[in-house]
Symmetry: C2
Subunit: 873 residues, 2 copies
């Protein structure tokens, strides 16, 4: 027996989504629960897959379509193609996932030169019938045979001009007859065939067109981008037409069962009397608020209201529905989960839990974690945004919206901000020297660098809006302007940045500040309740630590020590230390830095108390700390008693070809163990001090960066351990502490079993791991990654969401081998991926102990972690 | 029953090397085959291991030593410590592997104040006896109790001065009595104990001292460096003394069974009449040629000659023997494999095969592959070298020796070379712009960069001596001098470079050119016969290709195309191509380059004919090709119609933070497919042309660099494929060709199964793979790798010999996964590791199809490959 290729709506339900598609399965479900749905049938996704093998409908499909049409005729008590009272149908695509780009809708299929007269006779409305016919020809020509839309529009425009009409509603019956005639001529001219008069032929052509559209370019691209498989096909829904445009007792509308902007539990929608569905969307007439239907058609409103409530209860989810009223009778045409703002999503989820409709776990899975970004950062006023044209687009490096005057160096930015200006810092790229200016800015724009460039990392950490790697903007820092094409933006000019999309605008766009609702707090409580993986924050200062705590961080997974040295009063000691030519000299300057460094840790430990704080030893190449301005170099040379030539030569000695792979991380501790000694001393002394002061046992975790082999781990471990023990015994204290390592070099994952013999914890640095596993410099990759995404070689930026196929393999290897040596090894991740939901899910699957991310991403990570745990059940 | 800790020589043989050590097992073996060996016994390596647990000889060991001493007394018919005719013994360490740093030798043990009189009585030679006694005290004090050698020497010097003696032989019996007395006083003073008079106490102290010396620092360091395990211990040999200094019927000597410098099959050695072994080495008296022994003691000579022949036949290897003649009786004291020069090693191995002594396979395994380097490159005259002091030491980047005048830029170097000067090019680092100057130089010295830096790679490829990364040399290129400490070397000054050791010398050292012997050719024939893995060369020019063929390369595994563009007549087209701002512009300049590029390939294909030639598409970041000199920039701007500002801005746009991880390799082909199109066209057109001309089917292999993912492979593959097919059809030709990829990015190894779906061959680029797997920039790593080796964190440079533990894992993964998809996938390696014997063995174990290395390393790689195949049997 042949496969069943076609299902009547009454034969399906919502569980058959794979086979019947989203739209089809929902129409079936509504039928099943007794709602007034115009009946019809669905040709399955399997038929589509089979069809695409040799782009031919099989005999079995054709005969089943035929048989189901017979059944539909019986239900509707009309005949397809009947000259007196023809059954008209709509044909719509409907894949498992909503998918723009495919063929959408053909209405009024079944009309031809004869049956159109039957409609006239039946409705007593010739204009209506002719209008339906001409719309059908146009849609069929456009959609099935890809005749240019404009060709049809030209005819309408010509007649409207000739008659002096303002809009199409003024077309007379005679005009419409002409239109139909001329549309058919266009059809003949473009296709070489007469417009098909056989409704069955029309139907099969339409079904085939839907199937074929599965493989059109736009649909393929959409699937690639959204990770939808290419082999699942689309269904086709054939449904009896109902008409909202049959007079003032008819109408059509769309509605949400709750407010999709705010989440308020109140029907929200619009309708039009005497109109077809497309008119509501087209915007020719202004639809009315759904509440007005209560007055105009109280019975219909009541039925619709009840139906909406029923649907929401049935689906246990806010619904987006379409309906048509034909001569006072309500028909439901579609229902689906309604799109909503982040704010609404949270309110709806929390309300539904309170209403007993869904569980807390369900509520958690219904929020897209990245949508929280909107709630935590300023956004543009949507109206104001609409009016603006995009000047350039870079990478969405740190979310939010910002407006302000541009400045091209940190000092100018800081000064302007001190005077109360809103400032946007614009740089080719930022470096640690720019920190103060960055913190002072509302937004940061860079022309080079990727999602994990210095600008991006610092901005996300501080919750500052940032667009990075905006290659179209040519930045001339010394001349204080940047240029996009011919447009020049000078110091003091206003621009606006959209850090969530990467868009840059000329001028100032109104922003609105975030307000966190009680519902948000409630949801976060549940997230904490259900998640099993820890969520820590990356925080380098007491201020960051406090922010992190506010957002619910359970610890600090990464406290970078390098930013601490850029304060004005520290950088000169730091520079002298770096440029010391003997160990003694270096130790002197380190002694100057020690008390400041200790103060940093005291501040952080006092805030975090019993919570884990992981301090990473100095990581960046030393060259980053050195002065570049001639005046700074002169001063420093004088201070240190060097000639300028000498100093410049020392500075040059520290330059590197590939600093990313250069003398940094633990390699500094190997060459200059005295630096690690000073940092360890500062950490341990601070921990002892805070323990004494607060009575809470501080247990610092000291993390070594850039380890690639066990002997290196052993060497630095011993330097730290000896120093720590010495300090503890000097202070006659007792203190627990842990010494662990970053796992961020490919080799480290491969020998993780050996490294774990010494290391007491692991933290994956997936930024560097991605750089080295791909061979992509995060600072240079923006240039070519753009070409890669354009050519669809890369579908996502591996610095934004972890590359599970490649880098992920190394993460798995690292975890497995580390735990082979120490089964209870604490393993976290402190790369930027800790704040990406797909990555969080992956890290959960890898059984990591915690993820650590920017403070502003903690809620997002917590939600993603909760979802991962719930998915796992 | 207790373990057997002690073996008489008569109880062992050469198979017991692990237990008895090298020296002990050979003494046992010689005893076994009936040679005249002074008898004795060996305390085992197991005893050493046991002893070191709590540094105490067990009762069992002591009683076994005792028992074996009894047996020895019986054999010698003397008593240990006997006042009339004492048995005297030597005590020597002897581990499995010869190992400097450990305690060496104590002679005359058993002498004391009483037994020395017995010796006097017995030998009728008071002077001899006293001299033996004072030597014993000195050695015992020095070696067992670590009393400073100088303290004893001071006494001798004082007496010699007082008496006006020239040397020690003038010391009278009275003098010697004084010496003995004062030595004993030193001993008491330094140790707090009287010099031990009990021979058994002397013996046990000596045995313990040998055992302890296993763990002294020098020995540990030596083992680390030579990969000798720390837990195998050393044996101790106790042997009856014989005396070569008992008169003119006695003597001592050392000999090799063949000439260790030339390999000539003729006894080679020296002897001294009336002397102890150490006198031969000490150089106080001039030894005589062993041939003279024939006249002086014909019977002894005959016996020694026969014994030597017997030993060589027995061991089937050239022996290095020590002997002593005591009153006309010959004693053999030691035999072992003799050290020899590379030249001798080859001659001996080949001769022994001809003599039927060993097989061809054995001959192959007896040559250390790296020793071939000596034969293929100029070397310093050893005498001349000895007199020179080392100025500085860098990395031994390309072997050989060179002398010449220093020049600090390529142009000056080229001009001087053109005038016939021997030139040494000195640079901070080299870049492709320096190529002509590099080729013109006899040697290259750089102050930065590692074993795979540009200078190193080019120099090895061209067989030019190179010392790289010589950090002690501060190079001032513009001022045309370099400085090591206070020594300044200016343009035109002479220096000499030792590329095999990395040493740099001031002034000129005489060099000698390599001459390849027939034996070398014979050995290489056997290598080819027994090896199973292919050996290809990296060659970029017809000239290199010809050299490669001469050295026996079976193909070209890597033909880099970038060097081709640095010729004066090409670089300007190349630069214009790079700085083009439209595709059209770029295609124009590419069209200029096409015929030149095609010529390159024609030349190479004509030489290589049917042998595989793997051409890699453009790899380096484009910035490398751009001008840096102001005059060049001006000229180029004028040529291209840009302002200087514009051109500088375009150049700046191409600068990168980490060019190694930047826009290079296949990423260029993604951004500018037109470059790959031009290169493919050049390759395919050249192949068609040479096929037509020679009638040999040329099958080019086109290799894509820096692939990290399958979609990238697919994209570039398609660009190449389409172009190739187009060219083939244009030319109406038929041509086979293959498209494959480098595997040099960690991620590529992890997804090798997917990449192999498209790629038709793999070639591991282990230079880049090492850089990224370790996170080591080859250009910057020299700085910190030095600290790493000093602190023993790294035991070898991973750029010189592949890191099997880490990088090697990725190679294995890559091969396995690639072959999972394509079981017969051709997989090679074209990194610098292809010329390192340990790496070649590793690649053999990974089942690679071939290794490819610098032409000058082909013989070495072939030998290593043959050894790998033989080891596998």
């Amino acid at each position: 027996m042949d496969k069943k290729w076609v299902y009547m709506f009454s034969e399906g339900d919502t569980t058959m989504r794979n086979l019947l598609g989203g739209k089809g399965s929902n129409l079936a479900e509504m039928t099943k629960i007794g709602l007034p749905v115009p009946q019809g049938y669905t040709v399955t996704t399997e038929a589509c897959i089979e069809y695409l093998k040799d782009t031919q409908l099989t005999d079995g499909m054709i005969s089943q379509i035929d048989a189901n049409m017979k059944t539909l005729e019986e239900i509707c008590n009309k005949k397809f193609g009947d000259p007196q009272d023809p059954l008209l149908v709509s044909v719509r695509s409907g894949a498992k996932f909503s998918m723009p780009g495919m063929m959408d809708t053909i209405l009024n299929l079944g009309l031809n030169d004869v049956s159109v007269r039957g409609v006239v006779a039946n409705t007593q409305n010739e204009r209506f019938a002719l209008d339906a016919y001409r719309r059908f020809i146009q849609m069929f020509g456009d959609v099935v045979l890809e005749i240019e839309h404009a060709k049809f529009e030209d005819v309408l425009d010509e007649i409207k001009n000739r008659e002096g009409y303002e809009d199409e509603t003024q077309l007379t019956v005679e005009n419409l007859k002409e239109v139909v005639q001329r549309y058919k001529e266009i059809y003949l001219q473009e296709t070489g065939n007469e417009f098909p008069q056989d409704p069955n032929e029309q139907l099969l052509m339409a079904v085939e067109a839907v199937f074929k559209s599965w493989n059109n370019n736009r649909a393929r691209v959409y699937r690639e981008k959204n990770n939808i498989p290419h082999d699942i096909g689309t269904a086709v829904n054939v449904q009896a037409m109902v008409f909202g445009n049959m007079g003032n007792d008819s109408g059509t509308g769309v509605a949400f069962t709750r407010n999709p902007a705010t989440g308020e539990n109140k029907l929200f929608g619009e309708f039009l009397i005497n109109a077809q569905g497309e008119d509501v969307v087209a915007g020719i007439r202004t639809p009315k608020d759904i509440e007005e239907l209560k007055d105009e058609m109280p019975d219909v409103y009541k039925e619709f209201h009840e139906t909406s409530e029923l649907l929401e209860k049935h689906y246990r989810e806010m619904q987006d529905v379409e309906f048509t009223i034909e001569k006072n009778k309500l028909y439901m045409l579609q229902t689906r989960s309604g799109k909503r703002t982040a704010e609404a999503a949270i309110k709806i989820a929390v309300d539904m839990v309170k209403e007993g409709l869904i569980t807390e776990e369900e509520a958690l899975t219904r929020i897209e974690p990245t949508s929280l970004d909107q709630l935590l950062h300023p956004t543009f006023d949507p109206k104001a945004l609409e009016e603006k044209e995009i000047l350039a687009t870079g990478l969405p490096a740190s979310p939010g919206a910002a407006k302000g005057r541009v400045y091209f160096n940190a000092e100018d930015a800081k000064n302007a901000a001190d005077k109360g200006e809103d400032v946007i810092l614009v740089r080719k790229e930022t470096s640690p020297e720019d920190i103060e200016g960055m913190y002072a800015a509302k937004g940061i724009l860079t022309s080079t660098g990727g999602m994990t460039s210095h600008a991006a990392v610092v901005a996300r950490g501080a919750g500052i809006c940032c667009v990075a790697g905006c290659e179209d903007a040519k930045v001339f820092e010394d001349k204080k302007y940047f240029q996009v094409g011919d447009i020049v933006i000078k110091e003091g000019d206003d621009i606006s940045l959209h850090g969530t999309t990467g868009d840059v605008f000329q001028g100032s766009i109104k922003t609105q500040d975030p307000v966190l609702s009680e519902d948000f707090g409630e949801l976060m409580k549940w997230a904490v309740k259900y998640k099993t993986m820890g969520v820590y924050a990356n925080a380098d200062t007491p201020h960051d630590a406090a922010t992190a705590l506010e957002f619910g961080a359970e610890g600090i997974g990464l406290c970078r020590t390098e930013h601490m040295f850029f304060d004005e009063d520290r950088i000169s000691s730091m520079r002298r230390m770096i440029l010391s030519q003997t160990v003694e000299q270096r130790e002197n300057y380190l002694a100057e830095l020690l008390p400041m460094q200790r103060e940093d840790f005291v501040g952080i430990f006092e805030i975090m108390l019993h919570r884990p704080v992981t301090v990473r030893l100095l990581d960046p190449p030393l060259h980053e700390f050195l002065p570049t301005k001639a005046s700074d170099i002169e001063q420093l040379a004088a201070d240190m008693g060097y000639t300028i030539d000498q100093l410049e030569s020392y500075i040059r000695d520290l330059e590197e070809f590939n600093p990313m792979l250069g003398h940094r991380g633990c390699r500094l501790a190997v060459t200059y163990p005295e630096i690690a000694v000073m940092q360890t001393r500062a950490i341990i002394e601070a921990a002892i001090e805070v323990t004494k002061k607060t009575g809470v046992d501080i247990v610092p975790e000291i993390m070594i960066p850039l380890i690639s082999m066990k002997p290196e781990m052993d060497y630095v471990y011993n330097v730290i351990k000896e120093t720590a023990e010495k300090v503890i015994s000097e202070k006659q204290a007792t203190l627990n502490y842990h010494i662990g390592t970053m796992i961020e070099i490919p080799r480290a994952t491969l020998v993780a079993d050996k490294i774990a013999e010494t290391a007491e914890f692991f933290s994956f640095g997936t930024n560097d791991l991605t750089q080295m596993t791909y061979g992509f410099s995060r600072d240079d990759a923006a240039k070519y990654i753009e070409d890669y995404t354009e050519k669809e070689i890369l579908t996502s930026d591996p610095f934004a969401s972890i590359d599970q196929e490649g880098v992920g393999q190394l993460v798995r290897i690292g975890v497995e081998r580390g735990r082979k040596t120490k089964p209870n090894l604490k393993v976290g991740v402190c790369g930027e991926h800790g704040g990406d939901p797909a990555s969080v899910q992956f890290f959960y699957d890898c059984d990591l102990t915690y993820v650590s991310c920017s403070p502003f991403r903690v809620p997002l990570a917590a939600l993603a972690a909760a979802q991962a745990a719930i998915n796992d059940k």
